[in-house]
């Protein structure tokens, strides 16, 4: 590799030797990239060196197509505990002397995969007063629709004998293009968009952890992202009749949500636990401010029938409906929307909390549960 040119060596040969040398350099560097990625994953995240986990490795799927967390599974920074949930290991049965609080929800509740113990269920446990033991079970995962919570709880989570179950539904699911009266497929996890299976070198590359890291760390410039979103929204809306789009908050969607929540409350009560409703919070104001437009525009990819104004209005209406429902069903309510709606500093995007936001939610939960203790029977 020492490139000091030898005057006795023919020029062509020197160039060839240099090329071979740099080729070896590149090869060693490339192999080291993959080895480094695997070593890093193994040392810091306990992912076996020779495994190639994917997002789907985090789950087991039951006969009804519903996903449940796989105990001890790991993928990137995501770690599942011994019960296949987010958070520290816990026993399957309730620890004597401890309250067991369970959290049902989706990605908002799961929290940032890369930041451990910062999501609000974990913070509830951390902020509990000294001497008070609260076991928190964070059963949420990304893409778990509110309707699927019914089967998810009844078929799986109820077995862990929670004392209190907090319901934090992703309300925007009810603005999806096709939502109607409850159907069996609504009880399944939301499926990722189908993608043609990779072949050839792409398939090989996708098995490389280093390639995965590069892809994850690539920052797509904002104009390109925006163009991509616009294209997706256009392709979803083009050719649709004028009345296909929501011009106002669709009342029947709020009814679906209320029905599902009422059914979930009934299931939880039937299992012997106390249900607690949490209002869903968003970063945007209603009506939206100028700085809210980006978040709402990004959300339109998932709910193309709704305009930015309708998305914001629906979220506020859903929070109000949840409050009404709590009163009607005599359920305790944690009014996160009342506390955090429109607070841009408490979110990282439209619906996901920042660490400070998670802390606020945790404090609100503890304060509300303390303040209303005694007014509701705790099973």
């Amino acid at each position: 590799m020492n490139e000091t040119s030898d005057p006795k060596r023919p020029r062509g040969r020197s160039t060839l030797i240099a090329l071979v040398g740099w080729g070896c350099f590149a090869l060693v560097a490339a192999i080291s990239c993959e080895v480094g990625a695997r070593l890093d994953d193994w040392f810091f995240d306990d992912i076996p060196m020779l495994d190639n986990p994917t997002y789907e490795s985090l789950f087991v799927v039951d006969d009804g197509g519903l996903k449940f967390g796989r105990p001890g599974a790991r993928w990137k920074k995501v770690v599942m505990n011994n019960l296949g949930m987010r958070g520290a290991d816990v026993g399957a049965g309730r620890t004597p002397g401890c309250a067991r609080w369970m959290f049902l929800g989706a990605s908002e509740t799961f929290g940032d995969p890369a930041i451990a113990a910062a999501e609000f269920p974990a913070r509830v446990r951390a902020f509990a007063p000294v001497g008070r033991c609260i076991e928190t079970l964070n059963t949420a995962y990304a893409g778990l629709p509110p309707r699927a919570l019914l089967h998810y709880y009844e078929a799986g989570m109820a077995h862990y004998a929670p004392e209190v179950v907090f319901i934090y539904p992703s309300t925007h699911f009810y603005l999806a293009s096709e939502v109607s009266a409850r159907r069996p497929e609504d009880m399944q996890s939301r499926k990722p968009k189908p993608r043609p299976p990779a072949t050839g070198i792409v398939a090989w590359l996708e098995r490389l952890r280093f390639y995965e890291r590069l892809r994850d760390s690539a920052e797509i410039p904002v104009p390109i992202q925006k163009r991509r979103l616009t294209r997706e929204i256009d392709s979803a809306t083009i050719g649709k009749p004028a009345n296909w789009s929501f011009s106002t908050v669709p009342a029947e969607r709020l009814d679906f949500m209320a029905d599902d929540m009422a059914e979930l409350v009934r299931l939880i009560r039937a299992s012997g636990a106390e249900p607690v409703l949490i209002t869903h919070a968003v970063r945007v104001a209603n009506p939206p401010r100028e700085e809210d437009r980006g978040d709402l525009f990004s959300m339109r990819v998932y709910v193309p029938r709704a305009s930015e104004e309708v998305i914001a209005a629906f979220e506020y209406a859903a929070a109000e409906r949840t409050r009404q429902l709590a009163r009607t069903l005599n359920v305790r309510l944690i009014d996160v929307a009342g506390l955090l709606n429109g607070r841009r500093d408490r979110f990282v995007d439209l619906v996901h909390f920042s660490p400070a936001g998670h802390d606020d939610v945790a404090h609100l939960i503890l304060d509300t549960m303390d303040a209303s203790a005694g007014s509701h029977a705790v099973h």
């Binding site: 590799m1 490139e3 000091t4 060693v28 480094g36 890093d40 810091f44 280093f210 890291r213």
Partner: protein, 464 residues
Amino acid sequence: MLFTSLIFLFAFLPVTYVIYWCLRTTRQRHIWLTITGYVFYGYWDPRFCLLMAFTTLVSYSAGRGFLATQDPVKRKWLLVAPITVDLLLLGFFKYAGFFTRSVNDLADVLGWRTDLPVLDVVLPIGISFYTFHTITYIADAYRGHIKPTRSLWEFGAYVSLFSQLVAGPIVRFREIEGDLERVATADRRAGLTLGLSFLAFGMFEKVIVADSLAYYVDDWLAMHSSLSTLGTWLAMLGYTGQLYFDFSGYSSMAVGLGIMFGLRIPQNFNSPYRAANPSEFWRRWHISLSTVMRDYLYIPLGGNRGTTAFMYRNLMLTMLIGGLWHGANWTFVIWGAYHGALLIGYQHMSARTGEFPVWLSRLITFVLVVVGWVFFRAHDLPMAWDLLAKMFVPQPGTLPGDAMSFGIITVIALMLARWAPNSFEFHKDFQVTPLRMGAAAAILGVSVALIAGSRASPFLYFQF
């Protein structure tokens, strides 16, 4: 832009390198280095470039003034005016908030009412470093140690040289002037392999060692109030290793990048944890700052001349200002005073330290340095006192579950700091063998994987 970012490694550096070596003349290369320096710097915030351009123009004009006049009065003005401008800028951007907050706090204690508005000015990254570059240039020109350059581009390239722009080393013009004038005839091939080897060495220090320690240190110190005595010592030892490898790694990378462009940047760290006394520590730690403080502050203050008390005063003043240079916080002032006291104590007792075995002197010096890092790391004085109390008054508390892996990494890191060759010792023969290049390739590969995995943290010295 960080050296340890994909955009730097895969876009900025290759483009800068290829175009630089395609250019033929000295002037073209100076212009290109200046442009790339501003792109590198402006990547954080383009507004900062205006500030650097202003400082550059002021100092360059002063240099031209020195060439034009030998009148002592005018030369004095040419010295004082630009240095005042530099210090005012530094004072405003770095210390204005600290000063007003301190005055308000003091007034509160005395029961007065001041309510000075506290300015929360955004600190331009690296201002402490490039301000020192321009100040040393002007002072050297005034003293006649250098002949100021007539080329604005050469001076622009010196101030904005991306390899040492934001976190040093503080390279004096006289140290790099020769290389800047010979850039057109530099040996690209030899520089590439040697530079890559230095760069890989720095990556190893920063990305593999320092960032692995940071993974634990940041978490542990965030919950310092619940740590036990053992846990606090382990956290501080980890930070001791992290700080050294972070900054030394940056300096090694800067040296390597300089060599790749035909510029020799001086050594900034010489295994400081091998020091057997505080004075030796400062000859090995952040050498470029120590020598600047010595040559432009300590000696002009009177240095060793005069009485012992006078020398102690100079030492303490130099270390206090050195501490404050690191950050606008009382913790840094106390850290500077602490090291001033160590140096004075060492001077006072130096006749007796000869009685100690070397290993004991090294151990004592190391422990004293670790204690000093408490002030360097603490966000505020209450945190510093809490850490010190935990370190010296045995207290129960928690030892987090990852203590074993943290302990192992810390021990390995400190052993490397103590016994392994530093980047200049490793490259002392300036020869690059195939084995070394293989090792460099492997380290660069692993480092890139870690960077892509987002475990690389910003350089600690950027904040200064």
